[in-house]
Symmetry: C2
């Protein structure tokens, strides 16, 4: 595949297939862009009517081009795309970029059109980007290809950029230019009929010109592939993504925009968490993070020094750093001693180190150099607010000088220097990202530190447990044969037990004597409910008796239930189901829910109101590794409750984690369920006392 994508991104010859309309030649802008960027290969305009495009001879069809053609950029009206792609196939073109819109994003007719084009592409063994895209860019000097219709040719650099929205692509390239950020390759993948974001991720993984991958996504074509690929790629290169369509309305808009289903956001978060992709909330954050990652190493830890010539911004940075989980230890005594020799006594030798307004380049250089050599810090944030008397370029130069050779992460802030700041330009050109607002520098640093933590965390293993799969198959098949919509009650508990999930088992009795015997074996106290004849809404019908503590209470309960059945006019054999009543411990909820895109998600939360009111619940996509399961437990806001609250002993978290993994295995083995609820699962300090009390397996609708 790499070879095929290379033919697209590193072509030796490009045909630009446009058309003529009353308004002029479509495709002219793309030819001009290719010429302006000084493409290192040959370009052949193709146009049925025009014989010259941008001073270059144009051919009627791609078949008329005398040379071989690696890549065709197609911008003809949507009705003609298929025919043009056929011609490309006949010509032996290796890849096509279809810019034309009006395909799957506009409904059924467009979908059909897209399918037909794709069939042609497949038939001729070509690859396609688009349709409905903005084009592609490769800034490598050996290539220098700008096959877009936009007006921005981005700076060369080491960022690979994948965008699903053409407009976002152009906007992002424009803003990047202002921030002096360079791209290796830009791929506007549009409707992703053939080449997907997953393909691009794999391509960038091995691309020697790309160090950092940015993505703007509206949906996932194949989220399960994405998981595997992103997990692998993010081991080598950071991936930063804006995924829009977070809210259901946004998702609806995204869906009409891209002609595909958009995922539940909870799935996206789980996916990114598990795959090591950095998700940012806004496009602005995308830039903040991209600036930092393309110029600086990840911080080795959370300890930050802030060095400033102005108190206010120093405090704002401090607030934002601490709020985002960073630490700001005071300067070491040795550093303070060094600094006091050189810096005005009016300065505050603390962290933030406020050198006060008189400070110029010299003070920045001395202080940053001392802080750089202070082992207490992993990162440094220099902040400069320009007084009239200080030259900002001189300060920028001294910041670079003072920090020369540092391995610490450095993010600077120049506040109030104007939009076209020469000082900021100097810093960026010398590898130091620079922000206008101290909070942005702080938040970005925290994002980097969290990312480092995440990728350094052991990924864990996906364990395979020995389970009674056959037994579950039997239960499931029977239920399906019965036409039932769900498996509940004792059968549900049996399924859990078969998968080694601790659960309070049921025992049955059809006489008071048997009931006493069963209760003795279960251990008091017990819960008793009517088993047969089957009645719905047992609790409401008074068919459930709880907290039975003695043989006598058992006999009475049995009699009472039988009496109730008789009064209800139910016939058939009477029997009860009994379960030990588990109390103490903490009620948790686990389960599985099906995301339309991501498939099954494993869920965990604290029982009752924590899930329902406080929305304190966490999800993971499959497969769930051991570390992932432990992470689920720890990631709850209410985790302190599980970890020994108010001197209580912590619950056995390992048993919860193992249960989640066994549930994950069950979900993998049986794809017939749309939803599984284990509610409550009682978590106790003693693992042996932890158990599921009730469960429910809902079948997918046929």
């Amino acid at each position: 595949m790499r070879q095929q994508l290379d033919a697209i991104f590193k072509p030796r010859s490009v045909a630009v297939i446009g058309a003529s309309t009353r308004k002029g030649s479509i495709g002219r802008e793309t030819v001009r862009n290719i010429l302006l960027a000084e493409f290192n290969g040959k370009v052949f305009p193709v146009n049925l009517k025009a014989s010259v495009i941008q001073s270059i001879k144009a051919y009627s069809t791609v078949l008329d081009v005398p040379d071989a053609v690696d890549l065709a950029i197609i911008i003809v009206p949507k009705e003609n795309v298929k025919q043009v792609v056929v011609q490309c196939g006949e010509k032996g073109v290796k890849g096509v970029v279809v810019i034309t819109a009006g395909f799957s994003e506009v409904g059924a007719a467009g979908e059909k059109r897209e399918r037909e084009v794709l069939e042609v592409v497949r038939k001729y063994g070509m690859r396609m980007i688009g349709p409905n895209c903005f084009g592609i860019v490769n800034t490598h000097p050996d290539v220098s290809l700008n096959a877009t219709f936009g007006k921005t040719y981005p700076k060369a650099g080491r960022i690979g950029f994948i965008t699903q929205s053409g407009a976002m692509g152009e906007a992002i390239m424009n803003i990047a230019r202002d921030l002096d950020l360079g791209f290796s390759t830009v791929a506007s993948i549009g409707n992703k009929a053939d080449i997907s974001s997953n393909d691009m991720l794999e391509y960038f993984k091995d691309d020697p010109d790309t160090d950092l991958i940015l993505m703007y996504l509206e949906n996932f074509g194949n989220p399960r592939n994405f998981t595997e690929i992103a997990r692998e790629v993010s081991r080598h290169k950071p991936i930063v993504a804006v995924k829009s369509g977070r809210t259901s309305l946004g998702a609806k808009a995204a869906s009409s925009h891209t002609g595909s289903l958009a995922g539940l956001d909870v799935g996206v978060d789980a996916l990114f968490e598990q795959t090591g992709v950095m998700r940012v909330d806004t496009v602005e954050e995308l830039f903040d993070v991209a600036q930092a990652l393309s110029r600086q190493p990840l911080p080795k830890g959370n300890r930050v020094a802030v060095v400033t010539n102005a108190g206010g911004p120093g405090i704002l940075a401090t607030d934002a750093l601490i709020r985002n989980g960073m630490e700001m230890p005071p300067l070491s005594a040795a550093t303070v001693k060094t600094l006091k020799k050189h810096i005005s006594a009016d300065a505050s030798f603390a962290n933030p180190m406020d050198m006060v307004a008189g400070a110029g380049g010299r003070e920045f250089e001395i202080t940053l150099n001392a802080v750089m050599n202070d082992r207490k810090y992993d990162s440094i944030v220099p902040i400069f607010v320009p007084p009239i008397t200080i030259d900002q370029v001189e300060v920028a130069r001294c910041i670079c000088e003072g920090l020369k050779g540092t391995k610490k992460t450095v993010l600077a802030c120049f506040m109030g220097v104007g939009l076209d700041s020469v000082g900021m330009d100097y810093l960026r050109a010398h590898g130091i990202p620079c922000y206008i607002f101290p909070e942005a520098a702080a938040k970005t640093l925290a994002t980097m530190a969290k990312y480092r933590e995440r990728i350094q965390r052991p990924r864990g293993k996906v364990r395979t447990f020995k389970v009674g799969k056959a037994k579950v198959e039997k239960i499931v098949n029977q239920a399906l044969a019965d036409g039932r919509e769900a498996i509940v009650s004792d059968e549900a508990i049996d399924i859990l037990c078969a998968y080694g999930i601790p659960a309070a088992p049921y025992r049955y009795a059809s006489s008071a004597d048997e009931a006493v015997k069963a209760a003795t074996r279960l251990g008091y106290p017990v819960v008793m409910k009517i088993n047969t004849p089957p009645i719905l809404h047992k609790t409401e019908a008074g068919g459930v008796m709880v907290d039975l503590r003695t043989d006598k209470e058992i006999r009475k309960a049995f009699r009472d239930l039988k009496e109730r059945i008789r009064k209800l006019g139910e016939k058939g054999e009477f029997s009860v189901a009994m379960q030990q009543m588990i109390s103490g411990g903490i009620e948790t909820v686990m389960g599985m829910t099906t995301d339309p895109q991501f498939g099954p998600l494993i869920m965990f939360g604290l029982g009752g109101i924590y899930v329902e009111v406080m929305k304190d619940v966490t999800f993971r996509i499959l497969p769930l590794a051991d570390e992932g399961a432990r992470g689920m437990v720890r990631s709850l806001r209410s985790f302190p409750l599980l970890n020994g609250f108010r001197g209580a002993p912590p619950v056995d978290q390992e048993i919860i984690a193992e249960t989640l993994q066994r549930l994950s295995q069950l979900v993998k083995d049986f794809d017939c369920f749309s939803e599984i609820d284990i509610n409550p699962f009682i978590a106790s300090p003693d693992g042996k006392l932890s158990a599921a009390v009730d469960a429910r397996f809902i079948f997918k609708k046929p």
Copy 2:
């Protein structure tokens, strides 16, 4: 006071009192700034050594100035400030702005220096801004005063700006210039020795040139005054504030920076919530909001239409709007019908209305005009991402044209148009704020809508209840006379009862018969604990018996407790205290905590882990109005629990709100307590069953 401040901000003559150092003349920049801004009065440089400053005759002292002087700007070395201020006083100067630093912000010596200067100012009846400030600006054409040492003279406009940090002041003015935001008056108030942010708020309240007030604050001089003043001012003009020092480390930095105690952030949030001040998290948001408020009306409701030529940014805006609580109803049928006549069928006639990339000025004008006339919306967000073929100024012009005369709130986004966008300039010049990122426009709109909701909410009344103050005085005085540190147990309950706070009362008994009688009067079940002899840690010592349900159990409990006392070797008369055991209902916690700056804060939350683990608790400063108390209850994340969770009846919220107000009155009446805990206060659906079960009043340390 207004007159005195007018002398400072609208002077007819200004003396700039500088000094000469080896580096040159201090104060020269300020004189130059005054000249460059074409001050509409006279400026007199004062310098002991130089006879000419910026081509103007300089006088040795202010006393030598031949004319009257309204305002003196003082930039001499800190040691000379006092003497110069004395001379100003003798000269009859009305106000001084002390730019010189080295006062209370640098410790004890500086504090003394500041006090001495302030004494002189008071003695001569002058007013002072600073010390340690950046200067002042008044852009009114009748004044045109730029008495700062910065390099930015802000654009004239209708924003009043108060900043505690000089550097932040300059930075903010610079950034404002880039955003084409204009200021009426800028006051860098520095250490606020005399004129405070409160004074400035009052000044701006009546200033006909100011419509909007921005503040950068690091601490509050007098938070109680701030409450009253801000509450009053925000009725007339919006106040937007960045308060730094949010985190304790940030607060520490703020404190060393400004030489004063910084408040607990929880107090600040309570304060802003109650006073109608809009608090923003970052300086960037300050600008986002300032842009909007200075150019657009507040939205009348939460319903927004997004109109875009690019899907991606439309989705990002939608996500951000929904996430921030806004609504995006679909276009009305009539609007769709109108639009379909004019707009390409490829467009998505939804909300966001995506006109697709070909859309130009005409499409924006038609669509915006239709949406403006659609009654379903309160606000409109036009988003434009420039394709190469479309002229952004033409689009901007058409946006203005299409929306001409609208009363809806309009915030635009031009994405990827470059830093110096002529399109954005056009919109801003025509009263439409314009953002680079769609999320910023969305979040700002949501901030405005929340603000409108807040200021429209009835403020409520501070009620005064008839209470048994004398009874509480007696208890308190006795406890103080005994040298106790706290009032607990039955006396604490007595205090609550005296203030009409429902509480489970105590009854006492020194015989088993008395105990049975007491229990009968309280109503079973009851709790019994040892009353005398006094022993500590009653629960741990086995001195508390709970859930006593019968006369028999009472007698046994009495005997058992007496026996335990004997075994502990305690002597003296034996008696027990009994309380009805209240169960059912929901455990809440209320109380008072003392903030070092704000004084007492009333607290409310749900019992146990909600407060401790989930940090779900709310605070208010005094006085607490009825609406404020109700707001406290509603503002908890766990509020659904109180409001009828899972079909349970809602608890009586009015009794909680009334209890909070009675507590507030108690706190006002007795300022001897540093902390009050009512824990638990059981909230029941039936107000009559709601009651405090335990309470604790901790005295301030003497």
